[in-house]
Amino acid sequence: MLELQNVSLRVQGQSHIDEVSLQLDRGHLNLLLGPTLSGKTTLMRLMAGLERPGSGDILVDGVSVVGTPVQKRNVAMVYQQFINYPTLTVFENIASPLRVARLNAAEVAARVQQAADVLQLNDLLARFPGELSGGQQQRVALARALVKQADLVLLDEPLANLDYKLREELRSELPALFADQGVTLVYATTEPAEALALGGMTACLHEGRVIEYGPTLELFKNPARLQTARSFSDPPLNVMQLGVRNQTFHELLSNVPIDGLSQIYGTVTDGAYHLAIRPHHMNLQPVSDNSLKFTGTTTVTELTGSESYIHFDYGGNPWVALVHGIVAAESGKEMDFYVDPDNLFLFDVEQTLVPMANTRS
């Protein structure tokens, strides 16, 4: 188990990692999900020993490793930009950590062969990295991490530079690759779809802090924090600012009352709130008798094959609805969008979820 205890790192007076505490177990995937500059790479460098925390402790199976240099730790790291030795063959690239460890030739051959089998690199072992496609090169980098049989494997957006379709394939293979090795596996991504496809456990990162940690699907379905809901939304989450006065909900800026919310949320303290709705929960027709209606002005419509993204302005907020079918909405048109109350998220001024009245104990 890898444990981070109140780890912080400041660089030139700026906070990069802020009081991060995490316990990452072996045997399942641990995801770091967050936008660029949220601290994913820095956190991985701290875990690897490439960076020393300013304060806090990092323990492996209960023993602090903060003083141990990266060479003395058994760590493998794969980066977004695939890194291979250009003058070495694919075989030697994969074998390189084993050569460093001075394994005998027979064992090197056996382990390289095994990794090449898993990553389908058998036909490419005699080639040089320059002769390979991006996807093949990244598979070589992954194979090198695999043969090393490291205790800790850190994958920093390993699929980000690959073709979309190839990503889909590797995504489904990756967790299984390291599963039998009993390693602690950490995987950084900016993409919610990737996190959901990979499963495992997720730490949502924002501005160097861990916002929430838990089973990936659970965090997606029941975010306790606004930032978690944001990180898991693609397209971006629709958010508006609300004010509550004497149990009446109204739009904070325009003061326009929003009907229906007081029935759902019951008694809440006066003050400022955020109402959040996922794009795929906005419908063009009412979904239930008590659906809430939001009227906006369309800006841009984007079509995929079977769905449409309707971008619209809602009280000055850029919102988007993801609806089934091909809906070519003209821009500048007023449109009604309906949301089932079950699909609303209300967060207080601290950005913590406010439970619905009927679920409150």
Binding site: P35, T36, L37, S133, G134, G135, A160, N161, D163, Y164, K165, L166, E168, T190, E191, P192, A193, L196, A197, G199, L217, F220, K221, R230, F232, D234, P235, P236, H280, T299, V300, E302, L303, T304, G305, S306, Y309, H311, P318, V320, I326, S331
Partner: protein
């Protein structure tokens, strides 16, 4: 703005050495003011084609015409186009505003005109508050915004060409920038050509998507056409997440046979009996208790918005998208929406004779 015409374009990087064709015989006309996307996996020739259009690369065969004028021998500057690349191209020592003004100063535009156009682009890209910041101090995302801005700042260009401009951008910012691009396109009606391997980007950006595979164009179509009626099994698989199910069958008259199971086709295709492929999207299959193909459920993945159910019929895997909350049995039947079912032979779409 210009209509772009490609006449018998083909390209080998090293014809003397007999190197393979990166691009095979291609003739296309792309309309003035259109938004086009070139979509395909790496190595399909999409960047080669873009570079031929921009003038960075001279094709080993064929001609390129802008508004019926042959520009094959002209440089990118002479062709009067703007380009945006995958990685930011900015002058680090200049401010954001100066970076955007640069292409306009080069054309000798009056100062007032430059200023108003730069302000417009700054606002478009949410950079107004950083107009005076030195570019080197900005984040990678902001630098890429400047690159986009420099591509869009001139209104007199023949075309704006984008080579994977959003690949290295944060997902949320990607949405914002893409919708801005669409607004800009509507406003200024540039002819835009956009290269990407990301189907969502291609489908949402373009009026017409050009799907490429191994140096050839396999289909040109609107996003719904590519989704509903892929001309080639490659397009079916490439578009959609996951892609279209391509099921090997044995065709006998109007019956598609999978060993002992039969799917009766609603249309007649006029094909001889023999091997063929059925195409059906995971979105258009329903798990049913009593109708359709018998299948075993291999895996269920909860992707948040919906479930992805992987099923097996004989030795073929068929993906199904099911709703959250649906209970998934171990053995099921797969009911295909019959009007969404299409037929391929030798990987090519076969149109029905009667509907």
């Amino acid at each position: 703005m210009a209509t772009i015409e490609l006449q018998n374009i083909a390209h080998q990087y090293d014809p003397q050495q007999g190197s393979p064709y990166a691009l095979r015989n291609l003739s296309e006309i792309w309309q003035d003011r259109g938004a086009y996307a070139l979509l395909g996996p790496s190595g399909c020739g999409k960047t080669t084609l873009l570079n031929i259009i921009s003038g960075l690369l001279r094709p080993s065969e064929g001609r390129v015409l802008f508004d019926s004028v042959d520009v094959t021998e002209l440089s990118p500057e002479q062709r009067n186009i703007a380009q945006v690349f995958q990685f930011p191209v900015v002058y680090d020592t200049l401010s954001v505003a100066e970076n955007l003004a640069f292409p306009l100063r080069n054309r000798g535009l009056p100062k007032a005109q430059i200023e108003s156009r730069v302000n417009e682009v700054l606002a478009m890209l949410d950079l107004s508050d950083r107009a005076e910041s030195i570019a080197s101090r900005l984040s990678a995302d902001d630098k890429q915004k400047i690159s986009l801005g420099r591509g869009l700042v001139r209104t007199d260009v023949k075309a704006v060409l984008f080579d994977e401009p959003l690949t290295v951008i944060d997902p949320h910012l990607k949405w914002h920038l893409r919708t801005e691009l669409k607004k800009i396109h509507r406003q200024f009606q540039h002819t835009m050509i956009y290269v990407t391997h990301d189907q969502t980007e291609a489908l949402t950006f373009a009026d017409k998507v050009i799907v490429m595979y191994e140096g050839s164009v396999v289909q040109i179509g609107t996003p719904p056409e590519l989704f509903q009626k892929p001309q080639h099994t490659f397009v079916g698989r490439f578009i959609g997440t996951p892609g279209m199910n391509i099921i090997k069958v044995n065709l006998r008259g109007n019956s598609a046979m999978l060993n002992d199971q039969v799917i009766t086709l609603a249309s007649s295709y006029g094909l001889t009996d023999g091997p063929a492929e059925l195409g059906i999207r995971p979105e258009y299959i329903e798990l049913s208790a009593d109708r359709g193909l018998r299948a075993a459920v291999v895996a269920v993945e909860d992707l948040g918005r919906h479930l992805l159910v992987r099923t097996r019929v004989d030795d073929q895997i068929i993906n199904v998208i099911a709703r959250n909350g649906d209970s998934i049995p171990e053995v099921t039947r797969l009911n295909f929406e019959s009007d969404k079912l299409i037929l391929f032979r030798d990987s090519r779409l076969v149109e029905p004779r009667t509907v």
